[in-house]
């Protein structure tokens, strides 16, 4: 009796694997999206030149008072242009402070880009060599983070923000308040 049961085991395991794969196919998820290791950790400490302000951008002075959205963007990045209207909605409609980290870009082009599309950012630190992005664990721009009023990273989205993600972020921020 025991022997027969053991011979059935491979079949049971195979069925289990099959069901698992089907389940993973069915549920809505993006396998290429990697969870951020910085969730529930403090924002990285960094200083950078600011695009629009004379003063240097010092992270410890910017975070910790209110909920802030941090958006990594570049003018050469097409998806950044696509999500720009949602980024604008964060600051104009919802009065959320948005900091835009300008990733490996040409400052003149960025100024023109923002003039044309509108500037939703309260401050724009320049990440000229990509080192700030590495501090934030960024691997593909655009990437967007929610930082709470205790300087803690609560959420990261990789890729352009669409309507669904926009609604999700607004809901999360409402719950955080």
């Amino acid at each position: 009796m025991l022997k027969k049961e053991i011979l059935l085991l491979p079949l049971i395991i195979f069925l289990f694997i099959l069901i698992t794969f089907f389940y993973l196919l069915k549920i809505e998820r993006n396998p290429s999206e990697i969870p951020s290791n910085l969730i529930n950790k403090n924002v990285p400490i960094f200083e950078a030149e600011s695009l629009l302000k004379k003063d240097t951008f010092i992270s410890s002075q910017e975070f910790g008072r209110e909920i802030i959205i941090v958006n990594f963007f570049a003018t050469w990045c097409k998806p950044c242009r696509d999500e720009h209207k949602f980024i604008k909605r964060f600051s104009s409609k919802n009065k959320i402070r948005v900091i835009g980290i300008n990733y490996k870009d040409n400052s003149k082009k960025t100024v023109q880009w923002l003039k044309k599309l509108g500037n939703p950012y309260s401050n724009i630190p320049l990440d000229k060599n990509g080192s700030i992005a590495i501090e934030w664990g960024v691997y593909g721009i655009p990437e967007t983070f929610i930082v709470n009023s205790n300087s803690m990273i609560k959420y990261r989205h990789v890729g352009p923000i669409n309507k669904n993600v926009y609604n999700k972020i607004i809901k999360m921020i409402k719950n955080m308040k």
Binding site: K3, L7, N37, I134
Partner: protein, 136 residues
Amino acid sequence: MKNKFFLLIIIFFLTLYVNNDLYSVEPDEILQNTKQEERARIISKNIRCMVCQNQSIDESNSPLAKDLRVLIRNKILDEKNDREIYQFLTDRYGDFILLKPPIKSNTLLLWFLPVIFFLLGIYVVFFHDNKFKKLK
């Protein structure tokens, strides 16, 4: 004719095998000190390119891979040890950045399931064999 063709195919695959040590390190990245450069290469081979995901940063020509290669070399020049460099990277990108996952409570299945399956296989084969002998 058939044999020659077969030989050509074998040679073709052999050359692929010989040339598989392709890497993307650019001349300006290479460190002067060969020992330090060797260390950088070994670390880079263990670090996943987050953009291409199935390559190491040593093989990938994506801009982020280059940034990370330069960062590793700078850390070596700053006299950071290997553990500190791996720690720096996993703190920011998680264990996913390591091509070889570390043995932890949540990776135990990943590491030991193959062994369990192997033992199970032997067990099943052994039983089957016994049964077969008995039938004889």
